[in-house]
Subunit: 410 residues, 2 copies
């Protein structure tokens, strides 16, 4: 079997006595503490380090928001509360989570194209900023605010006329279900301001999972330009501008990490030369995957080792029910391998080519195809890296009755 | 926007006073009873009708097993207990479900390439037949049986040398993680019989979601031929043969229903002329999707109606977190539309072309692209048909914090 490449393991993961170490502890210790596999292990030190890199690279003027959807595990969200300036949520479920964690609702904004009336009401009552997605939603929000006697805090989500080039997922440019086409924003903004809402500004999201600094730099310039023009047309200052995110992480063979320094330098120049309409505007980035993705590792145990027509299969007790994207079944056109390793033989050289599969009765359940790995046996642990974002919560945990993986923050 | 076709709505769904009726009740009544949307509604009458069609078409010799993974909603499984001859499970979670429902474990078999030791032990203790996937799993099973002092009931899952042509998902032919390559089966079967297990026979699964009767007829002939040869080589009768399933349902534009009569006629002929090694063998089909898929409808409410660059979006409170396959993100290479309708305007002619999307902040969350539909407003209900199998349990319900849909059997 001709080997296929594996995605790059994020820098800094090391072996001790042959075992992958996360947060200073070996994978065997971590699994023993959890009492079961599979388990997602998230590293506090990596979360801290990533935020440190961002604070160093970005101008101090730029706030950093955490998009909770990337990883809503409560201890992770709690830890992020000490690191970031704000939170972006996408449902009343995420709102309830932040309430449970006693997070200051003045730091929270809520975007999502299909907000139900009960979600709007919960957000208004909680004092969360609503990123309005349409004229219809705006009128519903105003009516609910009136009914409950609370002034809604409202921003407008803009569907820009440009997109982030090379982003894994395009969120702007052309017809989209997200936000309001840019040319309709001034009319709605004036309507909201005249209706007496607490006007919070604009949210412009242009894409996600971009690894090209140039693409991000260009998108940010476009976002600032558009926001300045819209502020002028609205005729009122923008209290806040959520510039979106889009910072990607390397998942696949050949992917290179984002040049964060280049993005930071360009943004520093840009912030020094803002359009006058944004002179007093609070600027922030909304990041999810970039903050938490590389801080997480999914550990699953090999329960069978078998051959079929000359091909070696390492069958694990995990699978796509926890790792939908890694299996290639979420937004991917062609399946490619994530970074995967034998965590209990992390310092061994490759000794064979094997397919790593999950425990589900479906050929879709693949964790690594034709991977060059140290020879592993039943009982060894497999690590899937880049598992900190859109893993546990973005996978069908109940498929085939297996249930969710364990999660831990170390 | 040029309209794209929608998948065919299963025959027999009708309107009353303009509303889609399921199990004799309008969708508005059903949603009112549930108290929320989205909701999966499963129809007892449709489950009964499908089983009736199968019993009429198939020779009496052929048992029908239900693959619980297709829909593990407890009331559905309970209802199936009165209709089918056996159950196939894929995890200890499904085993626990059947136990809770007091289903006779003598009717249950357990297949899955990554059975953990605790799952093997639970199955042995419960008296479930284990469809063994490898020599390694066989030895683990024997050891556990010895340790707990219970004789395991064991069959062998065979990876056949042929596949079901035209099946949506190939499960046999070439290297596979499922079962044992056919040529290694006799040695392992003799080993198990000599070790004193309760020998239960073979499980041969060749594919799934096939709409071609010819392909199924050919695969069944091959399965019976292979089982006969293997029984001869084993030198012991096969108590049971699970012939797999693979019966598909139409999801997409142009799909035609399976010609069940043709499959039944061919199988009747085949059963009248069985290899002598199978003369006393209990034969069964394992069906999941075909039994429950068309009995389910997913209902979601339109919460926004918006335009973007001339495109109309109907934004619902549902989405891919309940309908991953319908969104095109599960095993599909090219996204095509499932059968979708405006359930509260079920007798109206199309009046516009619209995109039906879910409430998630991702461009992946699409329920229908460029669909010709009656003009719908906020508050209308959208029906996604063919939602009875691999819907609720095969989707990432916790994605973005929305949580699972309601489910009801009517």
């Amino acid at each position: 079997m001709k080997p296929k490449g594996l995605g790059p393991i994020p820098a800094g993961f090391e072996a001790h006595d042959g075992q992958l170490v996360i947060g200073g502890r070996s994978v065997s210790e971590l699994v023993e503490e959890t009492g079961r596999t599979p388990v997602f292990v998230y590293s506090r030190a990596r979360l801290d380090a990533r935020l440190g890199e961002l604070r160093s690279a970005l101008p101090p003027r730029i706030g950093i928001n955490y998009a909770v959807k990337a990883n809503p595990f409560a201890p992770v969200v709690q830890h992020m509360a000490g690191l970031v300036d704000g939170f972006d949520i996408a449902s009343s479920g995420e709102l309830a989570l932040l309430k449970d964690l006693s997070i200051d609702m003045a730091r929270v904004s809520f975007a999502g194209p299909g907000k139900r009336n009960d979600e709007l009401e919960a957000a208004i009552k909680a004092g969360v900023t609503l990123n309005c997605e349409s004229e219809g939603e705006a009128e519903r929000t105003l009516a609910i605010g009136e009914r409950v006697g609370i002034t809604p805090q409202m921003a407008i989500r803009v569907n820009p006329d440009f997109e982030m080039k090379g982003s894994g997922m395009k969120m702007g440019g052309g017809a989209k279900p997200f936000g309001l086409d840019a040319e309709r924003v001034p009319v709605l903004a004036r309507r909201l301001i005249e209706a007496g809402v607490d006007w919070r500004g604009l949210h412009i999201f242009t894409g996600s999972q971009a690894l090209s600094a140039d693409a991000i730099i260009e998108a940010q310039a476009n976002v600032i330009g558009l926001a300045g023009r819209l502020a002028g047309e609205i005729g009122a200052p923008l209290p806040k501008l959520n510039m979106g995110g889009g910072f990607g992480i390397p998942y696949f063979p050949g992917d290179e990490p984002l040049d964060l320094a280049a993005v930071g330098d360009a943004l520093t120049d840009r912030v020094a030369d803002l359009p006058m309409e944004l002179a007093e505007t609070q600027l922030c980035l909304e990041l999810g995957r970039y903050l938490v993705g590389e801080a997480g590792v999914y550990l699953t145990r090999i329960v069978d080792r078998k051959e079929s027509h000359g091909v070696t299969y390492l069958v694990t007790d995990g699978g796509l029910h926890h790792q939908l994207a890694a299996s290639g079944n979420f937004g991917a056109v062609v399946r490619r391998n994530y970074p995967v390793a034998i965590a209990t033989r992390f310092d061994e050289e490759p000794g064979e080519v094997a397919n790593v599969v999950g425990c589900l009765c479906t050929p879709l359940d693949r964790l690594a195809d034709a991977a060059e790995l140290p020879r592993a046996e039943v009982g060894d642990l497999v690590a899937v890296f880049c598992a900190g974002a859109y893993g546990a919560s973005a996978s069908p945990a109940n498929f085939l009755g297996h249930g969710p993986a364990a999660e831990m923050l170390v």
